[in-house]
């Protein structure tokens, strides 16, 4: 039963990873950009929510109503000032420019807030630690349940938006053929602006849950980016439901790693990530070689 609980906790952790990873995956799917400043934007949103809660007593749920549009606007600016120009320079330039942007953002946060560790948990009272006890060994945190629900709603909503709305279809068309959409009246630059705005607005939601379930400081962005990146790679870049699976697989690997050895949390996650990466690289050629050998054997 303890083992079952570990897996359950891993799934909840994975749902959080899916939340922080989905906009990374979305932006890559639409613009072929890996936004290395993604983790920093999540932390920016967490700090904004912290200020609203700390100074103005606004609970994070209400704070999101303000912070999501602000982050969306920031996303638009990011596209116009950084991504659009970087994209013209080829594949490597956006990596460098967003990496540089991450350093700038992290240090600006440090300048403004110092190195103190913060959390949004005090702003939601009991909910931060309240849980349902299913048996002696199995408990479900109420906040964890909300995070899992939020991950499903966000990913499902994004999927529905891309499939069913006019803007969603325009985004998919632009993702597939940015040079062609102009011919049917779609402004690819505007679509990229909307897509980045959506991605950074989603980072705001991720930032809320980062602050609610854990602590953060100005340099927390790198770790968030790393976990998001691992979830996306495990699940397959650009696939939204794959991102949820990838997040859950990563979360379960980490929790089981910690269960086996107290130091095993990170190493199990990274190890699993590496194993998936190596399997992706070496298995398809290996399978191809075996197939060819099989064909030869049949021919002989």
């Amino acid at each position: 039963m303890i083992f079952l609980n570990q897996i359950l906790q891993g799934i909840f952790l994975g749902a959080y990873y899916a939340l922080i990873a989905c906009s990374l995956s979305f932006l890559f799917g639409v613009m072929r950009i890996i936004n290395l400043a993604h983790g920093s934007f999540i932390v920016v949103a967490a700090f904004l929510l912290f200020v609203l809660a700390d100074r103005f007593g606004l609970p994070p749920w209400l704070g999101l109503i303000l912070v999501v549009p602000v982050m969306a606007a920031l996303g638009w600016v990011l596209q116009v000032l950084v991504l659009e120009r970087s994209l013209k320079g080829g594949l490597l330039v956006p990596l460098l420019s967003t990496f540089g942007l991450a350093i700038v953002i992290d240090n600006l946060l440090f300048e403004g807030f110092g190195a103190d560790t913060r959390s949004l948990a005090p702003a939601i009272g009991d909910l931060a630690f309240a849980s349902w006890t299913l048996s002696d060994d199995v408990t479900i945190g109420q906040l964890d349940a909300i995070i899992l629900l939020a991950a499903i709603v966000v990913l499902g909503g994004l999927q529905l938006f891309l499939a069913q709305t006019r803007l969603g279809r325009a985004i998919r068309a632009t993702a597939e053929a940015p040079d062609i959409v102009g011919l049917i009246g779609i402004d690819a630059r505007a679509v990229y602006g909307f897509a980045t705005a959506i991605a950074i607005a989603l980072a705001a939601i991720a930032g809320a849950f980062l602050g609610l379930r854990a602590t953060f400081n100005p340099y927390s962005g790198g770790m968030q980016l790393l976990f998001a990146f691992e979830a996306v790679v495990i699940g397959g870049f650009g696939s939204l439901w794959g991102t949820l699976i990838g997040g859950i697989v990563l979360g379960v690997a980490q929790t089981l790693g910690a269960f086996i050895n107290p130091h095993g949390f990170l190493i199990a996650g990274h190890g699993f990530f590496l194993a998936v990466l190596i399997a992706r690289l070496y298995l398809p050629p290996l399978a191809e070689r075996l197939r060819r050998r099989g064909r030869k054997a049949v021919a002989a």
């Binding site: 325009a170 068309a173 597939e176 011919l183 402004d187």
Partner: protein, 236 residues
Amino acid sequence: MPLLTVEGLEARHGLLRAVRGVDLALDEGETLALVGANGAGKTTLLRTIAGAHRASAGRIGFDSADITALPAHRRVPLGIALVPEGRQLFTGMTVEENLLVAAGRGRPGRWTMATVLDAFPQLRPKFKARAGDLSGGQQQATAIARALMTNPRLLLLDEVSLGLSPVAVDQLYVSLQTLLGGGATVVLVEQDLGRALRVASRVVCLLEGRVTYAGAARETTRERVMEAYFGMTGGR
């Protein structure tokens, strides 16, 4: 007053001058066939008229407005649509989505999902299929239908029969004939000279980016076009 006027148009691919000082005028309801060898500048000319390629000199006028500097997506609402060479569908999306994505972005008009499917009935059974899974002929029909969804006043068709089976080409031209009969204004790039002469009201031949022949289709003989095609001027 012509619908489309092209004056002294130049377009480049880097150092290569693909279109060199082309003049054209097209009245509403006309069908112009653009012929010429590979690399003559036909595709670049169409793409420049649609705004997908930048003009380096000259002027493009559409319905008395100067559109030379407008990007492609702002020419669509004025009524210009290009069916690009190689179809260029959104292959990961269904036929329906390919049409929906273009709907409402051009002008209001008679082309809707229903009328487009009437014009290309071969698309009905494939409506929910991924565009990438269709046959070449069905893909080309989808590409033309997608362009029609913007209700263009000027339709630019680039090599619509390229790579299709003869049967598929015939089927496509049945649909196009009804389109042309309905008074559409079309510029058509077609490799099959006989077919081009049959469907067009006028013929323009390009050679190395320049117009080497222009005339009414009725008065144009195959021989005369072939001379212009290969640049044999007054040889006989």
